[in-house]
Symmetry: C2
DNA sequence: TTGAAAGCGCTAACAC
DNA sequence: GTGTTAGCGCTTTCAA
């Protein structure tokens, strides 16, 4: 029985197949990470990676996960492993040329949470402008401060600050909990907006949760105290990124004309993309 | 010579190398996940995966991340990609034989958060007995209830319940926030222990944080309210798992005699393993 | 239809 | 040393 099973159980060798087909069946998720990250940075992409990986795995791709040192990202994995598609998350502007140099014609390259004016890259970002507009709607008065996290991609950080409509002096960039606490002591009685629910949770330790509006960017609204007002980005970011990747993989010739996808804030619950478990 | 290769921008093809060397340079991290997971389950392994992946990547390995459906885990990636080493997290007992069937002689197989009496598997688990002992030390009286999460590996779940020394009727297995809330309403004024800081955070919404002791299993103590007593497992689990894997990869012939590694609870801050960036 | 052969890019084992 | 070759396991092509 074991013998018979083994005879019938042919196991394809994907390395050999890759070699001849020039397709690896591997999709890379590359993420900029530093060693000294606060808890909110560590968890920022947990849900995104989880969901994106699931979608890709269900489609029959294998996912290579790789951290990048922000200062010195090693991107060799892209060309060495012949990745069929690449997601890069939160890219430092200075490193885009480095990524380009690892680019192979026809290999979809999607950057997440990064603004870059280069047609080589497809981009999937949140529509923060939309989120801020929604955040202002239910509030009796305008929020007076913004607590947020910085991104490696400074253009994105700047863009968020700009779309918030809040004076730069009233925007606190979270570095550590102690500094956050000190900032909040000066504004305890005012209304504020917080980006990222983990930061929202830290913030709620020090101010009245009822005065907070949190823009949920990490798909974890449940961790927030009940009194907090939430603007939820629907959890479509991984789905959008996945669908874009599939589209690009299906049409290797002609790329799409729209290089930017903006995921809107919304409380509408969307269903998952259908899992069609077969790759190439 | 290396320079010359770089000048010519020669890119080694790892698929071809894998084929001839019979080593892929790939390490798998396989995790049981369900679709309807609560936030605490989704985030349970975020920090572990993050750190483990970093250690492996720094050593020059490439990491394949794959979700498994708990009921029907597809493990083909192991043999198809010729993984050099495999981590499997939170394994359902019934699936161990399935994993065995994908096992190749000499390929290190390390299970995390799983109890299995089979010499094929190396195991890295927390020492919960130690954690509960420490949890009782600082408390004025004995905790009267335990809030915890269930694992796919029922032996582990049972083992934790047993080591807690708390009556089964006073152990609440978290399914959703509503049920948790109802359980807590009956025990609001008593001391309790909580396993997993995300559950601890949810719990702290409904009871006096000062009465809670949280055993931190996900390396995210910062998310807890200040008043909560913490027992921290030091963040050595990914490091231990990594070091064990490296040891096994270095000694392909003779496995170690100790198949269990128990990571103790401790507040001692350990330094990261040295990053020696070269693989095979 | 079925089968044999070439070759993907690399390393190891030979020869010189 | 330096150069050549066989072959890893697969797919594709071309032949019968």
């Amino acid at each position: 029985m074991l013998d018979a099973a083994k005879q019938l159980n042919y196991v394809p060798n994907l390395a050999a197949r890759s070699l001849v087909k020039q397709k690896s069946g591997l999709i890379g998720i590359l993420i900029n990470r530093s060693n000294d990250e606060g808890i909110w940075k560590q968890l920022r992409y947990a849900s995104f990676i989880n969901r994106l990986e699931r979608l890709l795995t269900d489609r029959g791709y294998h996912v290579v996960l790789s951290s990048l040192e922000a200062l010195n990202p090693k991107l060799d994995v892209i060309s060495e492993r012949n990745l069929d598609g690449i997601f890069v998350v939160d890219v430092i502007s200075e490193n885009f040329h480095l990524i380009s140099s690892h680019f192979s014609e026809g290999v979809p390259l999607i950057v997440i949470d990064s603004i870059i004016d280069d047609a080589l890259f497809y981009k999937v970002n949140f529509d923060y402008k939309d989120a801020f507009a929604q955040a202002r709607t239910p509030l009796p008065i305008n929020p007076s401060y913004l607590i947020m996290d910085s991104f490696n991609n400074v253009e994105l950080t700047q863009s968020i600050m700009d779309s918030s409509g809040i004076a730069p002096s009233m925007i606190h960039m979270v570095e550590n909990e102690e500094q956050l606490k000190r900032f909040l002591e000066q504004h305890a009685e005012k209304e504020g907006i917080v980006l990222n629910e983990f930061i929202g949770m830290l913030t709620a330790k020090y101010v009245n949760p009822a005065k907070l509006t949190v823009i949920c960017t990490t798909d974890c609204p449940d961790i927030l105290p009940a009194a907090v007002t939430r603007i939820q980005f629907n959890h479509r970011k991984p789905v959008e990124a996945f669908q874009l990747m599939m589209t690009l993989l299906d049409n290797p010739m002609n790329g799409l004309e729209h290089k930017y996808i903006e995921v809107k804030a919304s409380s509408i619950v969307e269903c998952e993309a259908s899992n069609n478990p077969n790759a190439e």
